[in-house]
Amino acid sequence: MPTHTPSFPDLLFEDAARLRRWEAQLMGHLDCAGYRELHPSLVMRNPVNPSTVRFFDGDQLVALRWDFTEALARTLVRRFQDPPRRISYAGPVFRRPANSWDPVERLEVGCEHIQTDPDQRTEADRELARLLMAVPALLGLEGCLLHIGHAALLRRPLEAEHIPLELGQEIARVLDRRAIHRAAELLDGHPAKDRLLAHAEILLSGPNGPGSLDDLARGPYGGLLVAEAEQLGRVLSVLTAQLPKGLTLRLDLGDLRGLGYYSGPTLRLWAPGAQRELAAGGRYDGLYPEMGRPWYAAGFCVRLTTLLELGDNDQGEK
């Protein structure tokens, strides 16, 4: 059973100082790019997600802030007719992790870019990627990897094959574990089994650079995913040209986390030896329309808790 301290870590002097220093560096970085801080409440109402830390405030069930993006979206929808374009944030989120020993309280710094015109999306994605690419150098990390994926690469074939939502989620879950043999069991007897498994083989062939896109084009859903492949190709070529020294860029077509949430390109930053990603983000155009606003959005967050763990393992700050 987890004990309280790792789930809700106490930061003693040095760690607290490092946290404040990183927060200041990252918030300064975002501020220079025109991102203004918004600090949503630590308490959120209507928690439907069972992984949140919930409690009763009087007779109302509330939860500690489980996600900055959702907290910010609720605030923006309530307070603004036209959204601010660039927002930054810093603070903790509380969410039960996949591994029982991982911390529930996680410290993050991040940013959101909101657009009202769909034509602004490509430039916003590039801006966010450039900002994220500068993070390792800012924090003194070397040998980091930036993985680029795309949420539609699995979702669109599943939709095209009329895979029921629940089965689709289960397929995404096992493929996220790279367990293609489990996907084969789930699809047993389905007429699209062979096509979907051939596609999954391409997605899971490993983070191996631009060659993955050629495989994707030759695969069973190459025609369906032309726009996504072109988008990834463009992103890859733009970012490769601007890649800072010491950072490696890779396509990871098998990045299937947050499949029901992300709608476009996804970014994950890994440091060598880290057990969790250092930063993650992407495009999530479905969030604001669900709340009644025709806005588009993308963002990323840097997980300072992972950075602290890296420091503990003497693999972090140089």
Binding site: A98, N99, S100, W101, L145, H147, V174, R177, R178, A179, H181, R182, G206, P207, R250, D252, R268, W270, A271, P272, G273, A274, Q275, R276, E277
Partner: protein
């Protein structure tokens, strides 16, 4: 660079696994294997193994202590840890089955007002019961599960069946199969994604060495 640690299972899968590693880069040092050493060098000096109880193994890999591991899918399905499951190695194959004393039928079990099922596979059994709409008391046991119906602790058991000889010896019969279990190659998510050039080739080499077609 530290040698890459691979977690190997003790027990049922160990007997089938170790001979398969012989003559390869993954062969375990025989002297260290006979000693009480916990960390066993492999033929490739950049590799080392640790032999662990199956139930502990997923945690060692998920926690990043070992980069790769080999573990039964029966254990993996009971471990709520975030791992990459890279391949079904297709050895150590057995069935996870509901078994009861001779002449008992599944219908008789379904009609029992208080059905007791002994097992160490609580997750898989719970999922099957929910899927079948059966209510039962799960009796958690760690070993010699087949004794439970013989001694009256439970009406039935859910356990791994390979040859069926243990069932026969205890006058038990298989009523239905809940699933198949086999050895799986697992990897630490963080290491697999953050060090793909190091972990990926090792994972592919292990799969090609061990996977039974």
């Amino acid at each position: 660079m530290k040698p890459l640690l691979i977690a190997l299972p003790k027990g049922r899968l160990e007997e089938e696994l170790l001979p398969r590693l012989q003559g390869s880069a993954f062969e375990l040092d025989p002297k260290a294997l006979k000693s009480r050493k916990l960390r066993i060098p492999m033929a490739d000096p950049m590799l080392a193994a640790v032999l662990l109880k199956g139930a502990d193994l997923p945690r060692y890999v998920a926690g990043g202590v070992a980069a790769l591991g080999i573990v039964g899918s029966d254990i993996l399905d009971e471990s709520p840890v975030d791992l990459m499951e890279l391949s079904d190695l297709n050895f150590g194959v057995c069935r996870l089955s509901l078994c009861a004393p001779d002449h008992t039928t599944l219908e008789q079990l379904r009609r029992k007002p208080h059905l007791r099922i002994a097992t160490k596979f609580l997750g898989a059994t719970g999922r099957w019961l929910r899927q079948e709409g059966i209510t039962a008391e799960l009796v958690p046991l760690q070993s010699s599960v087949e004794l439970a119906p013989v001694l009256g602790l439970a009406d039935a058991i859910v356990d791994l069946v390979q040859s069926g000889k243990t069932l026969l010896a205890h006058h038990l019969v298989e009523l239905t199969t809940l699933g198949k279990a086999s050895a799986r190659l697992v990897a630490c998510r963080g290491m697999f994604l953050s060090e793909p050039d190091r972990i990926g080739p090792m994972a592919r080499a292990l799969t090609s060495l061990l996977r039974v077609p």
